[in-house]
Amino acid sequence: MSVALRIEGLDVWFGDGRDRVDAVKEAGFEVATGESFGLVGESGSGKSTILRAITGLARDWSGLIEVEGKRIEGARRDRAFFKTVQMVFQDPYASLHPRHTVDQVLSETLSLHKLGDVDARVVRLLDDVGLGAKFRFRYPHQLSGGQRQRVAIARALAGEPDILLLDEPTSALDVSVQAEILNLLTDLRAEHGLTYLMVSHDLPVIGHMCDRLAVMKDGRIVEVMGVEALRRGEAREDYSRDLLAASVGA
């Protein structure tokens, strides 16, 4: 099986000297092509920072990040990278431009990816995420939270990426809407053969969506486990066990 994403000895930090904060320390894991991998942990544990380092949003890092066998350096990413990797952010209220219509959002993304046939593609993207063409000329404020997140997912899919980085994609949503979005993500992965790297603080959500997961604490990966072990409550490390207990209320 080929490896979509390999991370080894990853350190990410913010600030210099006295103010330096080491957000991620010596993190390492591999995500196979077509796999769905979860990162769980409390706020400040560094899980989102890993995603931000991969996409170049966190500039100061060292270690190895390999995307589909290609090593990544620094904070600049080329167009080929963005055709391979896309990210969906937590807050659908903040991640869409308030004065751009859904059509503008998607068309702009398509032209950035240098894809032609914009008209048909926008319609197809909206269909893919279950919105339909009637949403095409709406502004974000005319959409609900769940609909906005669907637009954000459509935008991420526009360049036909292989890997989606999902940063708490449903934590700003109601549970009934969360169910819809998670179902959509499940279907999209099956249809497009996508690889997911998903960050969440919600263990049941990760358990539902992922094949394997890494538990993070204070910037370090404490444990990598399969979802079967998670379901059986078989965590090796004390910390993961506590997290599990707190999540299911046992």
Binding site: S43, D174, V248, G249
Partner: protein, 280 residues
């Protein structure tokens, strides 16, 4: 014993498209118990909590046949009298400590202010009480926290400071509006445990507003489930998983569960009848 009686509460907002009713005829009574109010965004659960304290600003309109506290209808009170009720009789903890604490005032001064506003006493006494209260919410180094500014404390600590501040005037009723939603799961339990202990020790009534069904079923005695501004179902918290209303069932089933893996989560099919008045 009933502490608070809410009868046919309505909250309305005039809009260009006509009057929008955020809360439509909610009635319940609260004793010395932990009452949970659950619902999704827009169900009117927060509006219910705010309306009790008359915190709905114009043009919002609060109407009710009665919001009775110790036999007095809160809706008849003057704004001055109402200010005495807030804090002293009924306190409220809001969702995010980042937005509820004054960022340019030391934590200690804020807690002491809450005490001095409702009690005639010296600053030294207020300080002593503030330290006691911070200890009661399991803050290890209260002297240091008193001197700190809100940005210097973590989210969990901020929320415990909020609870300390709300409980220092010794109210009979605490309204907690999503008090732990901004916190991590592990911290969540801790804060809830503290709140639970204080509410029990002081014989208070608690209204716990949340979107988290599991949390509410674990933490409360009784639960109201709200949908579109109405209470669609009331049940004992430990029986929440036997709830019968299709909306409650739908919410429960849409949650991913570690013990029941499945490919697709159940999607809630909303029935317009749930929102209709009189129907349930």
């Amino acid at each position: 014993m009933t502490l608070l009686e809410v009868e046919n509460l309505r909250v309305k907002f005039p809009t260009r498209q006509g009057v929008f009713e955020a809360v439509r005829g909610v009635s319940f009574s609260l004793g010395k118990e932990r009452l949970g109010i659950v619902g999704e965004s827009g169900s009117g659960k927060s509006m219910t909590g705010r309306a009790i304290l008359r915190l709905i600003r114009p043009p919002g309109i609060v109407e009710a046949d009665g919001i009775r506290l110790e036999g007095r209808n809160l809706l008849d009170l003057s704004e001055t009298a109402m200010r005495k009720v807030r804090g002293q009789k009924i306190s409220m903890v809001m969702q995010d400590p980042k937005f509820s604490l004054n960022p340019v005032m030391r934590v200690g001064d804020q807690i002491m202010e809450a005490y001095l506003l409702h009690n005639r006493s010296s600053k030294a006494e207020a300080r002593r009480r503030a330290i006691e209260m911070l200890e009661a919410v399991s803050i290890r180094d209260p002297e240091r926290v008193l001197r700190a500014y809100p940005h210097e404390v973590s989210g969990g600590m901020g929320q415990r400071i909020m609870i300390a501040m709300m409980l220092i005037p010794d109210p009979q009723i605490l309204i907690a509006d999503e008090p732990t939603s901004a916190l991590d799961v592990s911290v969540q339990r801790q804060v809830l445990g503290i709140m639970d202990r204080l509410v029990k020790d002081r014989g208070m009534g608690l209204i716990f507003i949340s979107h988290d069904l599991n949390l509410v079923s674990e933490f409360c005695d009784r639960v109201l489930i709200m949908y579109a501004g109405r209470v669609v179902e009331t049940c004992a918290a430990d029986k929440l998983h036997e709830a019968t209303h299709p909306y409650t069932r739908g919410l429960l089933n849409s949650l991913p569960r570690l013990d029941e893996p499945r490919r697709h989560l159940e999607v809630l099919q909303r029935d317009p009848a749930w929102a209709e008045e009189g129907g349930a």
